[in-house]
């Protein structure tokens, strides 16, 4: 056992620093994907609510396709396809050869998948907001986008939060798939460590534990954010409850 732990030491002998660097890349990849996926997902959910039939169709097709495809296939298609497409665009202007980095391809692919699922979460959240909120906004003279920004959006985020938190946990795990397009994430660094040390079982177990640790830490963060988002709700339910009791008393007496 001390022999195995030695493998995880830092420095030229052990693989601790390499695995830690991979972990850091995994975290960066997930953090970079999150805003991209959230914004794209929000706009896809807007297209699904659009009055234009073709826009609705585009939104539905987007989320059906990217929820139905294996994430691995999406990553390959984006990795090879995006560099070809990008090259094609660049060729219109110059002869330069460009290559899309694995990291960017990873962010795009994971972000697109995240967006497809997030658009469903946002759609459900939109449905959870009463029509009266929109009408109330209009009644006090707000424009439609002002109503969205000031009234609907804050409530939307609270409703969408549990679903989005779940998607974040899935995203953390899905980042492991980018190791196949030679991004030095946690799993790939572990793979390299294994090919040198011939200790696959121990090292992959350590990698699994690091993934588990990341999702445990995330869970704490999510709980904190949810509590913060619900703080207004708690005050409201706390103040309405006694009043209900009073009404009940009045009704029975």
């Amino acid at each position: 056992m001390p022999n195995l732990l030695h493998l995880l030491s830092f420095g030229p002998e052990g693989w601790g620093d390499e695995i830690l660097a991979g972990t850091w890349l995994t975290i960066r990849l997930a953090l970079a994907t999150l805003p991209f996926g959230l914004i794209l997902g929000f706009f896809v959910s807007l297209t699904k609510r659009s009055e234009a039939a073709w826009l609705r169709f585009v939104g539905e097709a987007f989320s059906t396709i990217f929820r139905g495809l294996p994430e691995l296939l999406t990553i390959f298609i984006v990795y090879f396809g995006a560099s070809l497409g990008f090259q094609w665009v660049v060729r219109l202007f110059s002869d330069a050869t460009v290559e899309i980095s694995g990291f960017v391809a990873g962010v795009i692919a994971l972000g697109v998948v995240f967006a497809a699922y997030a658009s469903e979460v946002f759609t459900a959240a939109f449905n959870g907001i009463p029509k009266g909120q929109w009408e109330g906004g209009a009644a006090i003279g707000l424009r439609r986008w002002q109503t969205m920004r000031l009234i609907v959006f804050p409530q939307l985020m609270r409703l969408a939060l549990p679903g989005l938190a779940n998607l974040w946990l899935i995203l953390l795990k899905d980042t492991s798939l980018v190791s196949v397009i030679s991004i030095n994430d946690l799993l790939r660094m572990t793979y390299q460590a294994v090919s040198y040390t011939k200790q696959p079982f121990f090292l992959y177990f350590v990698a699994c534990m690091i993934y588990l640790l990341m999702s445990i830490v995330s869970s704490f963060g999510i709980t904190a954010i949810e509590r913060w988002a619900e703080r207004g709700e708690r005050v409201r339910t706390a103040t309405t409850k006694p009043r209900d009791v009073m009404q009940e008393k009045a009704a029975t007496s």
Binding site: T64, I65, R67, G68, L69, P70, E71, L72, L73, F76, I77, F80, G81, L84, Y117, E120, V121, A124, G163, N166, L167, L169, I170, K173, D174, T175, S176, L177, S179, V180, L187, T190, Y191, V194, K198, Q199, P200, F201, Y204, F205, A207, C208, Y211, L212, S215, I216
Partner: protein, 244 residues
Amino acid sequence: MIPDLLQRYGLKLLEGLGVTLELVVISIIAGAILAIPIAMARLSKNRIISAIAFGYVYFFRGTPLLAQLFLIYYGAGQFVGPLKAIGLWGFFRDAFNCAAFAFTINTAAYQAEIYRGAIRSVPRGQWEAARSLGLHLGPTLLKVVFPQAAIIALRPLGNEIILMIKGSAVASIVTVFDLMGQTKLAFSRSYDLTIYLYAAVLYLLLVETIRRVWNMLELRLTRHLRRESQAKPAKAADLVPVTR
């Protein structure tokens, strides 16, 4: 009018689709068999048993499927001696078996949670009624609880099958020639990106088929829950999961 690419690799892709189906069917069924005792253990009043089951479920749901597959596929290579001694090396030497095994224990964790939720959703009164009729635990489960839980479990189970179809693509990384593996092989030979699009169409067709079949199954299994006035069934909601 079949494109040249499909003429050359079409059959290979279909062959790969067969392997994908085989992987998914084996792991979903074996996973279900494994999941029911785990779900019962999760519901057990014995703290130690339920803690072990919780640990199992937490580990397999909290780590990437690919890492679990590597753990088993490469990890097994480290224990050739002991595995040979108990006669299991022949099993773990094969990449397909390792993938099927990894998917089985992975989906068992997810399915256990599905069944646990479904069993818990059966009202307490049902258990008590069965007891007052003098039924033992076995018949209570088989005749009273499971049939009612099955309706609740159906939809998440459909989602799990779809997730397993998508997840099974990682088997290609450990040299299994499933649909994804055949596609990668064809791509490395032809260097034509459209082969990935053909694979995408096949995956989408497969997922869409499951989704439709599942919607029909659900309508059929819940037909006794609809009244005459509601004869027109409610539009079945989208099956593809939003969350896992």
